[in-house]
Symmetry: C2
Subunit: 342 residues, 2 copies
């Protein structure tokens, strides 16, 4: 999230102009993904007429969109033809196994964008403009979209998370995956450890996505589910590992502590609870991606936040955990914050 | 408009995540301007509780918004208190004479943002999703907002533009200011040359804004107006100078040529027509701000574009101008492209 100001240089209204129009960047990239433009670029030859034909779009539209994508770093233009940058080849061409294009479906959808259209009002009142509990309103269909579309963004972090939570474990391991979503994290644990049994918890329509992914990963026989809210359902257990991925940030510290207490009660002696979180530094303004995530929680929830390690540590301690450790994930902006039970 | 990719570094999905969420930046800066936060920052002391009180806003909202503005380069945070960056002190604090905060009122308004919500559809069809002629539909009230709010962004370019168009002129000078908007450019010519008589042309409600500005600038006695569309009304004349500021880009080249022919016919021998435009290089992807402006024309018009010098030169020639010269404006992203009549 670098800016002209951070890159140095004299004060200039250009940064203000550029920032007020930053929504154009989101819209341009989303449009290109919707038009399947990055596949057409990969297919070649990359001239405007061919791209317009391949995308069933107008030449005026394709030319101007491709020029804009070149300006913002997603295409390279040479003599009127466009080709992938290394980033777009790896992460935007649908034929790349690392393609994350689907995340536009979640990141630029009305549940996310509409609150930002009334952000001043949200700052005034201190809570989301969405009805009820905002993004965490029970059965919010946005989480089905999340489960479908955000998996590729999370996938690179699943391997490291699996290694961290399984470290030192052997023999049969029971794992509760709270707010499983796409299910990738629990599934990865099952893949890394043949004696792991996973219980995924989420709202029923979301679990359908996770079950499909477990099936495709070949771990369906060790994959059970609990439909409902983590705050209401009986966890069963006891468990060796409880996963809390991208979940605590939606709630205030008291609610998180209460949930962690319930998690602690469901752990075996020596068990562990692992939260995957955006964890900003104590200054709360770095690193940019983790710290900037607080704004999403302001816009879409009533009391969520990106918590610092010290805040998370305090929640874990108050919930009865003895030791808390932080494990930054090198393959993504997240940190695993792990509480160790008695 | 620098990006992670342009700054170098390995391919990373972070750039994609950051770009899809770029709309947050626009929303955060707009919200801060609406809340008059930059005035409160300037007043000090800059802690969250004081700022929340000064802005009649919640502490949660103010804290998260200020952290985000720090991340994107508009505030500095030290020990929990916020202060201006050089850019925000000069261009966002309402007490600064150079403040451009009002431009949020035009740049992030529904006429601008709504087409970007359906940009894929616009690329498919090659024209705006707005009704009729889009932003240039007759009497579109957005131009009154433009006239009110965009003046501070244009003001730094008025002085240089005045010098360029008046260069070598002496004695009485008659000036037609087409699509005058806020009127700043014609008013500046009147200020620089006491014998200049200005005729401002725009839709009637927009001219009210220009007339107010002419009054405040003390040139109202040399300021006349023609209400209506530049394509329909009689220009009167003949004129020594015709200004076409931020206008040609809304139309296709044939329409521009037709208008320039009408302008040429209204000029005295030796007169000149000066367009102030975003003029990209021939590669159409640099410089970023001028080249990126094409996307706004795709989104909001049926056939507008940011034209290269070669394209503008050709329009001028086809309209009967003998010589065409380009004069980049050092105080802004625009270029004055001047056609010299016979």
């Amino acid at each position: 999230m670098g800016t002209a100001a951070q890159r140095g240089g004299a004060p200039s209204p250009a940064l203000i102009f550029e920032t007020l129009l930053a929504y154009e960047r989101s819209a341009a990239l989303k449009a290109a993904i919707e038009l399947d433009l990055f596949r057409a670029i990969g297919d070649g030859p990359g001239d405007v007429a061919s791209l317009a034909r391949q995308c069933s779009a107008s030449e005026r539209g394709v030319r101007i969109l491709c020029d804009y994508l070149t300006i913002i770093g997603f295409l390279v233009k040479t003599e009127g033809s466009y080709r992938h940058t290394p980033t777009s080849a790896a992460f935007l061409d649908p034929r790349s196994p690392a393609c994350v294009g689907s995340i536009a479906g979640f990141l630029v959808n009305p549940m996310m964008t509409e609150p930002f259209e009334r952000l001043a009002e949200i700052v005034r009142h201190g809570r989301t403009s969405l009805p009820g509990a905002g993004s965490v309103e029970p059965e919010n269909p946005a989480w089905v979209e999340f489960a479908h579309s955000m998996a590729p963004m999370m996938a690179p972090m699943a391997g490291p998370l699996g290694s961290i939570v399984l470290d030192g474990m052997s023999g049969p391991v029971r794992v509760l995956d709270i707010a499983a979503g796409h299910g990738l994290f629990g599934i990865e644990v099952a893949k890394q450890h043949r004696l792991a049994q996973i219980v995924a918890l989420d709202w029923a329509p979301v679990l359908e996505v996770a079950k499909g992914n477990a099936q495709r990963a070949g771990v369906a026989d060790r994959y059970a589910t609990i439909p409902g809210s983590a705050f209401d359902v009986d966890f069963g257990g006891p468990y060796d590992i409880v996963l809390l991925t991208n979940f605590l940030h939606h709630f205030d510290p008291d609610t998180c502590t209460q949930l962690l207490r319930k998690v602690h009660a469901a752990l075996k002696p020596g068990g562990r609870a692992a939260a995957l979180e955006f964890v900003p530094n104590e200054d709360r303004v770095s690193p940019p991606m983790a710290a900037g995530f607080s704004l999403v929680m302001l816009a879409t929830t009533n009391s969520g936040d990106a918590y610092t390690f010290r805040q998370l540590q305090s929640m874990y301690h108050d919930a009865g955990f003895e030791k808390v450790s932080a494990h930054p994930v090198s393959t993504g902006p997240h940190t695993v914050v792990m509480g160790h039970g008695r």
